[in-house]
Each structure stands twice: as structure tokens, then as C-alpha cells.
Subunit: 217 residues, 4 copies
DNA sequence: AATGAATGAGCTTTCATTCAT
DNA sequence: TATGAATGAAAGCTCATTCAT
């Protein structure tokens, strides 16, 4: 099948990546053998190696794809609204997406990428650069909120952004372990925490509204 | 009628686990071979198999040890103080401990256990039961705070406990990736978030104290 | 009804063989992959297989080409002069040619063909028929020398021809290992040995001439 | 089978080497797979890798063993006799040994080592150091002969030693190709050539003796 | 209780060859 | 004719595990 289009090649590559991701989600990077991927992709070993130079290359490519998808998601969130709602929207975008059953596979792969990053500089680079941009963005929004008075001045924007990222990571993890987790509820609790960053005086109104609903469970 | 004392056996077992943990931290569960562990422990393969039935058994044992250590830590935190300070103390105990360089190895192993849990029911069981107890404890303290008025009624204690656990997990992860991370600052930001859970009226005083210091960075 | 001329085909074939020989000289028959040859020739795998039915076919073709070239060289040496000078000329023709840097590649390929012949009847046939003709020719010249009195009667022409061939082979080998080898000097020493085949009485004159120069090193 | 003697280990190693040599002689280094060697040795792949770190390591070890054996052979030849007989003895020792059917396998392996040396620095080193010592020894004996008058002054000892080595190499090759070769006759012809190095005057007597037998074939 | 040589299934990767285009 | 993506058998090698000593 010679002289095929670039689109065909890209599609083939994506096809392999998807097959590999399914295998990795199911069995882990190390248990999933190339034979599994070969079978899942319906190809031959040689075909795989035409698109990727090694198994690790596939892992790194998956990390990259994931990273790219998150970057798109990140940039898609509006910046127009107030700082606190902006961050909350970000949280909903990221966390909410994870709740979708279709993402189940990705959550499992993501957790593995975290651990793989500890061994593979290539994966580490992808994973860390995937963390840095959200960190900067959230910190910037928090600082904007401090300037326009919607966020208390005593908040450490940089460190709080890290905490927010940690919440996201922890959710990915807990959901990977417990697919039935109630993400909506988790997200609401996270957003409630964020609202505690508002200056003391400004919290009254929203607090009262919420009080009406009452605590759950 | 054992030829050697139980203490000797326990010591041997612990010795192997420590050697294995060093190997796992250094190379990951899958890259670390039994030969590496054998070398690190200064023993023979046969000796290892006298104490553990398989490599996975070693991994599970490490997870258990970790779990037991955390349980001790958890139970060591006082319940006497008010709810919010109690949770904050818990946060400091767990998060602060992670900052110690000596724990660096453990952080790396922990992240790997998370991903290993996805494949191994045994590890999963240990890891999840290690999460459940803190979850219950934190939720209970939050509810106690709601009863005594130090925590707002609109807070979802159960979900917030999960968010708190997520913050802990995210910190473990970020520190594993970036050993130089400023944990103190991270912990302060996390505690600040928790304080936002206080009822609107009660926050004025502490907020003003903090305002004096100003935000960092 | 060929679409392209026979000359074009032959040229293509030769082009591939040259590319293959360069690869073989550089990496050996077994390390050199068809992909290497494809790249070196600037063609596609399919194109190669249009001219050769297998990798081994290329090897055999290279051996044949080499053989043909040597046959030409062999027939080009004059038979007119006396027997001993005739053999010496042959030696000079063969050995001297090897000294040329351009032949370096061929020496490496030749040594590999020798070893390949042990496994491949096709290569063996080519290699041995390439040895037989020189063997017969040299033996014939030695016998002619015995008839005209320039070579001692006690010389075993057939066996001596083999020894002469061995000298040639050994030189190819030593030069393949050590490209800087002083071939001229080697050839002189070999010719000097041949002169020892002259009947005792006839050696005086040439011996004295040489004595003047003295031994080297 | 733990804690075995060093002798057992050495024997095991030798056993593997012999099995490998048989495979290599039969199929060549590249065609002979580890599985072949495993089967021939009656062991498992893992067992082989306990003694050798790679297939190439086995090849190099075989070259070394061969080299060591030749060194012993070389040193075993007397130096007491005159120079020319000394060299002739050397020739007989080396060449004669090759004629033995038991050495057939070794000849085939040797030819392959020559070609392997072109690709493997390790093998090259072994092969070349195996050539250097005989070269020096033969050259020294030739020079001794020149000093005591048994070898003509016009002989280039160094280059002639190389020619002698070439004769040896050529014989190995020709015999590998043609196991039925009459080595005795080849050796006699080679020795006859060496005798031509005697000063002109001294050759009369031996020449006449030989004349009686006459040329063969 | 401890040793460590041995096992062997199974890993990732290669590469001569094919054939739809 | 030529292309080059695809094949798939088989390569070298690893390593968790066993068991005779």
C-alpha cells in the first residue's frame, strides 16, 4: 500500500495510539505487551514500529496527546468572567470532563503516566509541562481576583494554584480507583472551598443562599 | 519449633522490604528486578522467597507497611482541639511529614503504588483502605465543627474530606516530581482554604490578622 | 518486448551491486540490511527484488562479478616470457592490484565471501571456480619452467600453485585487517620465495645482484 | 545446584563453548541462533547468559581459546635446531595439525572469525594478536638464520614472515573449503619454497637429493 | 535457613520479503 | 516498472521463580 497520503499515516498512528491506550488502561504499561497492542490494533509488530520507534515512544506519544488535549481544554475556558467564577469554571471544565465514563480509560492511563514520569525523562517532561501551564493560568486568575477585590489579599496565589492542581490530580486518582465516584459532588465541594477565598465581607450573601440547601449526607 | 527467633525473622523481613523499597524508588517496580533487590539486601534469591512468595507480595507488603505507618500518624493527631484546627493539624501532620527529604523515597514508591493498585487487587485493597480511614476521620471532624458552629452548615463534609485527601495526594505527586517543592508554603495555602469553611461571620478576625502579613510572591 | 533497454537493466543491476558491496564492506553481509542497500542505492525494496531474487542472490552476484574481474586480470597476463618471470608477473598483477586503496572495499567483501562460501553452495561454487583456474594456470607455467630448465625438477607444480594461491589469499586477509600494510614489500618477499624454485646453479647471478641491496628492517 | 566449585564452572563454560563452536562451524555465526546453541549444549538460554554476556561474547571467547591453543603450540616448537629447519618445523606443526580431521570444525570457525574480525573490534584484537606473535617469532628465526649463514642475506625477514603467515592462512581457507585436501603435499611444497631462501651455494646438496624423487602429478 | 545455578516462557525488536497501488 | 507499507517468523535476551545442595 505504497505512497499513501499523510492523512492516512496520521490516522494509522492515531489508531495505534488508541489501541495502545486501551491496552495500557487495561493492563498497565508493563503488563501490556507489544503483542497485545498488535492484536488490539489489528496490525503486525513491524507495522507498529513503522510509526513508533519503541514501546516507550508509544507511551510518550500518549502522554503528548493527552497533554495537547488538555491544553485545548484549558484555552477554551473563558477569561471574561470574574476571577473566582473563572477558576470555578476551570475546575468544572477539568473535573467535570473526568466524570464522563468515556474518560475512564484515560484516567487509568494518566495515573500510570504519573508513575512512569518518575522513570522516564521523556514522560516527565511532557507531564510537567502539562502541569505548568494550568498552574500559571490559575495563579494569574487568582491574582486578578485580588486586584478586583473578589479574592482576599492574604491568599498566596501561586501556592493556591498548586493546591488546586493537587485537587484535580487527587480526583483523577480517586476516580481511577473508584469509577462510580460522584464527581459532581466532589466538584461542588471543591468550588465551595474556592469560594472561601473571597474577602470576609463578600461572602455573606452566597453563604446564606447555600445555607438554605444545607449540608448533604 | 522455629530454629530462629520470631524477632530475627521479622527483622529479616523488614530488611528485605527496605532494600526493595530503595530499589523500587530508584527504578520503579517493573524495572527493579529481583536480582537488584537481592544485591541491595545482600541476600540470595532463595532467601527472599522464604519471606515473600512473589515479587508482587513484596509490593503489597510495602503498601501495607506504608498504610500502617499512616494509620499510626493519623491516630496520633489530637481530637481535643476545635474541628477546624483539628483538620488543619491533620493536614500539617501528613503534608509536613512529606516534606522531609528522608521521605523522598516513599513519595516515589507511593506514586507507583497508586498506579500498581489499578492492576493488582491486593494493592488496591491496601491503598483504598488506607484512604477510607482518613476520609471518615476528616469528615467526622468537619461534621463536629458544623455542630459546634466552627464550620459552615453548607459544607458537604464527606465530599470535602475527599477534596482534602485529593490535596494530600496531589502534593505527594507534585513533590515526587519536584523534590525541591516548598511544602510549607503549599501547606499554608491548603490550610487557608480550609479556613474558608468557617461560617461567614467568624472569619473576620483571622482574616484581618492575616491581611497584615499580605499575600506572597 | 521489454519496455526499457537491456543496457538500462544491466546498469541498474550494476548500480545495485555497487551499493550492496559498499554496505557489505562497511557492515558485513549479515549486519547490512536490505534497507541499508535500498538507501545506499536510492531505490525501493521492490526495485531491488526486481533485479535479485533474494539477499543471498545479491551476495552470489557480487562473488560472480569479482570472479569475472579476476578472470580478466588473469588472462591479461602475458605468457610469452619465461616461466618464473611469468609467475612473478602474475603475482605482481594480483597482489599489486590489492594494494590500491580503491580495492579496500573489495578486500573486505572478499574475506566475507570466503566465510559465506562455507554456508552457501552457490557462493562456494563461485569462490572455488575462481580458485581453480589460477591454480591450473600457475601449475602449468611452473611445469613449463621445469621443461625449459628455469625451474627445478624437484618442485611439485600443483602443490606449489596452491601455496602461491594461499599467499595471495593470506595477503588479502592481512590487508583487510591492516589497510596500511606495505604490499610492495610483501610482494617482493613473495617473489623472492618463488625465485628459490630456480635450479640451484641458475640462482647465483640474481642472488648476487640482490645481495647488494641487503635485507631490510 | 548452588555453591559449585570453580572447576565445575570452568567445565560448564568450556562445554558451552564447544557446543557453540559446533553450531558455528555448522551454520556460521549468524545463522546459528542461541536456540541452536542452547539445544546443542543441552541447557537453557538463561544458563548460557550466566557464563557469557552476549552472543558476541561467545564468539570472542572462542577466538580467545583458539588463540591460546595456538600460542601453546607455538611455544612448544624447539628453537635449538638451525633457523631453516626451525621454521620448517613451525610450518609442519601448524599446517600438519590443521590436516587432522578433528580440526575440521576449527578451520571453519577460524575462517568465520577472520571475517567477523572486520566488524568486531573485540574479535579483531584477538585475531591480530594471534598473528603478531608468530610473525615476530618467524622473523626472528629467519634473521638468526641470516646471522649463521643458513639463510641468504637478501631475504627480508619481516616481510617473509608475513608471507609464511599468509601461506598458513591460505591453507586454512583452502582446507575449510575442501576438507579432502592433501595437506602433506601442500606442506612439502611450502617447505620447499622456504628452502629456496638458503644462500645459493648451500642449496646444491639438498636439491640433488630431492631431484631423485622427482616432481609429482 | 540459606544458597545460587538453572529454568524457560515470554519479552521487545528486527528485517527479508511481498504485493496493492 | 517502481513504490513502500505491511507482514510475521524469529531473533537475542531477561528475569521471576525453583530446588538440589
Amino acid at each position: 500500500m505504497p505512497r499513501v497520503s499523510a492523512a492516512y499515516l496520521a490516522e494509522r498512528r492515531a489508531h495505534i495510539l488508541e489501541a495502545a491506550a486501551r491496552c495500557f488502561a487495561r493492563e498497565g504499561f508493563h503488563r501490556a505487551t507489544l503483542q497485545h497492542i498488535v492484536r488490539e490494533a489489528g496490525l503486525s509488530p513491524g507495522a507498529i514500529y513503522r510509526y513508533f520507534s519503541s514501546k516507550e515512544d508509544i507511551v510518550a506519544a500518549i502522554a503528548s496527546e493527552r497533554h495537547a488535549a488538555e491544553r485545548v481544554l484549558l484555552r477554551g475556558t473563558a477569561t471574561e468572567r470574574g476571577a473566582l467564577p473563572g477558576v470555578a469554571e476551570l475546575a468544572r471544565a477539568f473535573l467535570g470532563r473526568l466524570g464522563r465514563p468515556a474518560e475512564r480509560e484515560w484516567r487509568r492511563v494518566t495515573v500510570q503516566l504519573w508513575s512512569e514520569a518518575l522513570r522516564s525523562p521523556r514522560v516527565m517532561e511532557v507531564v510537567r509541562s502539562g502541569l505548568d501551564e494550568p498552574l500559571r493560568l490559575v495563579a494569574a486568575r487568582l491574582r486578578a481576583g485580588q486586584r478586583d477585590g473578589t479574592i482576599a489579599r492574604d491568599v498566596d496565589a501561586t501556592a493556591t494554584a498548586r493546591v488546586a492542581a493537587a485537587v484535580f490530580e487527587g480526583l483523577v486518582l480517586q476516580q481511577a480507583w473508584e469509577p462510580g465516584l460522584d464527581v459532581e459532588r466532589f466538584v461542588r465541594a471543591a468550588v465551595r472551598l474556592l469560594e472561601g477565598l473571597a474577602p470576609a465581607g463578600r461572602r455573606r450573601a452566597s453563604a446564606r443562599k447555600r445555607q438554605a440547601r444545607g449540608a448533604q449526607e
